[in-house]
Symmetry: C2
Subunit: 194 residues, 2 copies
């Protein structure tokens, strides 16, 4: 997605060989118009997938997922990172390890919001090791629903997540695919031409 890649080049900050900060427009400060275009793009790419619900994980996936759900005209569900204080017997849960934060979270979705036969589109802001996405896929399968695709705003293609998701048989669409960082610059994958 050209608009997004341009934004990454102008406003992203390469912190080191593996880390890109996009706080100024994606995951701390958010530009609503950019997020709207991101939602429109995901909706376009998955328009034939008969999506019945969008699923993401709190917190930084919510904005992109909401705009996608708006364009697809389906509800959004965001998985929670720890159990709500309201007692809830019927939960689907998965353990998700975050390499960035070096902690394991219990990710949960109330079972009433995922139905047998639902066609689920998973959206997240970043893909690195793929733990969060695979945890969400696990939850969807517990509910006997189908993962019709995974939409990622920024994929770090040099980390194992994208390969793991494709090998598990899921359709993956990433709006910006990063090959590497060098000298503080972002290099996109050569075949990332959309």
């Amino acid at each position: 997605m050209k608009l997004l890649k341009k934004k990454i080049m102008t406003d992203g900050k390469v912190v080191n060989d593996a880390l890109l900060k996009v706080d100024s427009f994606l995951n701390h400060q958010i530009e609503p118009e950019l997020m709207k275009e991101i939602g429109r793009e995901f909706a376009e790419r998955f328009k034939d997938a008969k999506v019945t619900k969008v699923l993401t994980i709190e917190a930084s996936g919510i904005a992109a997922a909401l705009m996608t759900a708006l364009y697809l005209d389906v509800p959004l569900v965001f998985a929670r990172k720890k159990k709500s204080a309201v007692t809830e017997e019927n939960l689907y849960a998965a353990e998700v390890y975050s390499f960035t934060k070096k902690e394991t979270n219990r990710v949960t979705v109330a079972s009433e919001f995922l139905a047998d036969g639902d066609q689920i589109l998973i959206i997240d802001d970043f893909l690195a090791n793929g733990e969060a996405v695979l945890g969400l896929c696990n939850i969807v399968e517990q509910a006997k629903a189908n993962v019709v695709g995974v939409g990622i705003v920024i994929e770090k293609s040099f980390q194992p997540g994208c390969e793991k998701i494709r090998k598990a048989g899921y359709r993956l669409e990433s709006l910006a695919r990063i090959h590497s960082f060098s000298d503080g610059r972002v290099n996109f994958m050569q075949d990332d031409t959309k």
Copy 2:
């Protein structure tokens, strides 16, 4: 906001005398079209406040805040509940106690995203004791920015938050104001006629 109050009456679940669950459309599953109308309503109510930025707190405030920011055509910033793994020297922080979760979180905003003179509209999904909103007000004031108003989706008017916010001198606009719960039903404030 009539559409919202109707939704609360049909789909909200009164758990006990103080607790209302709105998981099915507001803070776990989200209806994008309703959220869009909520954003439009906040933008309308604060259209003369010269808002330069919308501020909320992760995670369940993000959807309403994003739609508000979209209609006001300003950026959104969401405060984080614990320090990001990326080292960040320049943070504004406030301690926020959650009565629901019985825990204190350190809420932070990177200082680069709040500027001296910014006109900040704070948006959140629920108002009960007001701790989260007052923590955000504190952060805005650390930045020498101005809180031009506080927009709340659902206010539990029988809890102390709304009074605390008004006494502190902030303009408060709540889209649904709940007087009480009785026999599993929601009673709105009599003067909540918008």
